[in-house]
Symmetry: D3
Subunit: 163 residues, 6 copies
Amino acid sequence: MQYVNDTFSHLDDQGRARMVDVSDKAETARTAHARARVRMAPRTLAMILDQAHPKGDVLAVARVAGIQAAKKTWDLIPLCHPLMLSGVKVSLEPEGDDALRIDAHCKLKGLTGVEMEALTAASVAALTVYDMCKAVDRAMVIEQVCLVEKTGGRSGDFRREEA
Amino acid sequence: MQYVNDTFSHLDDQGRARMVDVSDKAETARTAHARARVRMAPRTLAMILDQAHPKGDVLAVARVAGIQAAKKTWDLIPLCHPLMLSGVKVSLEPEGDDALRIDAHCKLKGLTGVEMEALTAASVAALTVYDMCKAVDRAMVIEQVCLVEKTGGRSGDFRREEA
Amino acid sequence: MQYVNDTFSHLDDQGRARMVDVSDKAETARTAHARARVRMAPRTLAMILDQAHPKGDVLAVARVAGIQAAKKTWDLIPLCHPLMLSGVKVSLEPEGDDALRIDAHCKLKGLTGVEMEALTAASVAALTVYDMCKAVDRAMVIEQVCLVEKTGGRSGDFRREEA
Amino acid sequence: MQYVNDTFSHLDDQGRARMVDVSDKAETARTAHARARVRMAPRTLAMILDQAHPKGDVLAVARVAGIQAAKKTWDLIPLCHPLMLSGVKVSLEPEGDDALRIDAHCKLKGLTGVEMEALTAASVAALTVYDMCKAVDRAMVIEQVCLVEKTGGRSGDFRREEA
Amino acid sequence: MQYVNDTFSHLDDQGRARMVDVSDKAETARTAHARARVRMAPRTLAMILDQAHPKGDVLAVARVAGIQAAKKTWDLIPLCHPLMLSGVKVSLEPEGDDALRIDAHCKLKGLTGVEMEALTAASVAALTVYDMCKAVDRAMVIEQVCLVEKTGGRSGDFRREEA
Amino acid sequence: MQYVNDTFSHLDDQGRARMVDVSDKAETARTAHARARVRMAPRTLAMILDQAHPKGDVLAVARVAGIQAAKKTWDLIPLCHPLMLSGVKVSLEPEGDDALRIDAHCKLKGLTGVEMEALTAASVAALTVYDMCKAVDRAMVIEQVCLVEKTGGRSGDFRREEA
């Protein structure tokens, strides 16, 4: 059961959007880990792994795109606070013969959580894989973008049962 | 069967990333329609629909975020070409009692397709829904970000069998 | 009387632009409240209020635009310092039968004031109202963009006599 | 009388925001001229003109800020189309002994008008003047941001009676 | 002899910055090739080539950074026109035992040249190399950022005698 | 001898790019000073100095471009951390009869150094000079972009022997 509270903190009591005031929150260490999967034809995955080995740039470009997107989350998600990420890591691993699993980890010492940064990094890395492979496989699907774990902050830790 | 060709056009013959030269492509009318689903607890969906009615901003904020993200796709996806979208539409509809379906439509008269713009709009609108509702439901999952249809361009039309 | 000092702090002693060094300033709580008015034909205002009720997005889009602009102030105003806003609120209310009043409130615990962030939020929200209504009323005027109040920082508090 | 039509083109028939489809509009030459005034204490204006002469950067910084903002209008105003401005000019002139008048001119050969680009350039140049002078005069007011003239496009020419 | 004309086209006749009006220029095919060198200790170059082989990301990250910077040139260089690059390629090759040579090629069918885009891509790729290697060699120098060749446009072709 | 350590901190042990975790670093005062030279025909330099005196905007535009680029370093250099610069200064001085020397100084109290910010400011100011003068002298070369000095942080101070 995930219900932390009953209100949308980004809305005021009349339902109007705001960037919620966090001035009084404590600065604490925070981490988030998000995941996405790109489901594709086995032949597409084989091509990626082949290109990635030894010198192809597919996975490196996706890693860079994910890291840069994490830093722009405040600009993409309208009510997110600007923050100064202290670390971002994006990794891509094959899963079975028809999927690439993307894990994004973000760290911060600050006033707000970094879940959105990790989710944005994973999503944009997945979109970048789609972009690089779409000429061979337009039917790829980005599946299961979700938060795996978060630590720190007033709302406490969260760990997804399965992912 | 989706294979259009056997090479990753974003890579040169040594596997190195480039923004592929489209100078010689013809300017044609292009459209793309992408979709994403946000799976959530029924109670979360009920709250969104409740807030959205009559004056809550949840869905409006997600629409705006999706539209703005479509315009920034060239900045988010490293090898995408800059382009001048001539129209973007993002809609969000409940699906069953535990999902929100997001449809993004993009249009362009230009040299390159707009699939990535539509997929980016749908993804960022979904992330924005997550952001606005995460205080009540951290276990939401963005499922099935995929291309539903595209028209125009040398590679021809594409329509997903089911979505 | 508003004169705080006799020099333009953004210029060095030869009149050359710089981003002034604030390394030695203390981190304090700061707030700013700015206001703008969009003067328009009564019929345009009636249409906005009509659209805004129950589901039209005019006011929600302007709120989001103002909040996002506040976060980009450092990128728009060349000599502004980057900072991490801890809260932003933009509200739009009808004033008489021919004006919309926009109030933007910004908060920060940091080294520099947030007046420019509040003024930028109010201005961009006003421009967004203009954009959404320009097809029906090109003669709208954005009037009286001004600082209503600020608190915190070395220069002390400020409150505009009337606004 | 300014009413061009009776609908907000940025909203669909249910009042939901969209970036309206302009695919079928003709590419025509378009211009826009917008104006803003910054009202200030006579002493502040004297200082600006003094600094501006011979080498102070106040007016140059405001010109650059206005030009750059014009290019970012699509990113600031959520439903504006991206476009490729072919020319931007921002000028600042004293008006009486207590105001600075800012005129922004934009040109484009394209599918959409450039009114918002000119209004954004004038507004951001005015905000930049405020920023540079706020240490000496916090009570400055940005007055009368308005469209002076536009040419080109389906809606025809517009010229403000007085400005 | 390189003098094409005697005036700075970005300034008006009073020396004030503007984005020069190119509305009347013809749309032609344009290319530019710029180059930069990063001079470093031989041991640093050996480490880069070592890391780059087989899977290290140093060169891929620099390529991506250069390509993305080319797309942002209009935002970095205040008086550059926005444009829609149709192709960008950035390559990095060792030169002797103590330098990395960076070549950036840009293409466009448009109203303005793409020299600044190629120079910006080469510069930012060089800065990215510096960033990735600075922990081992802070004394690296970016040397000789220059235009090698350009074609297209009213000012004709240019080819640097040596580079 | 500049070797501080033997590893590229931006890469993990498999050579994959990451934004390195600095959560545990101490917040210290940091400064960096970088330099670039733009070599040009003596006649071009004479024109710049002439235009710059008394009211031409060439040098002011380059100063503003450098300052703004410093603030965007995190967005340009993929593995740079976002940070909040507390001061930036860019100066341009003639050197001999055929060069303009650009010095950029950055300051921060934070977790990471500001060398990249200073180098980026100097590079973009140099590119802006190139842009403004390229119509009269396409053969200009940006030479010797290098770090002159840095202070603060775990790796200690650095001072270039000559520059």
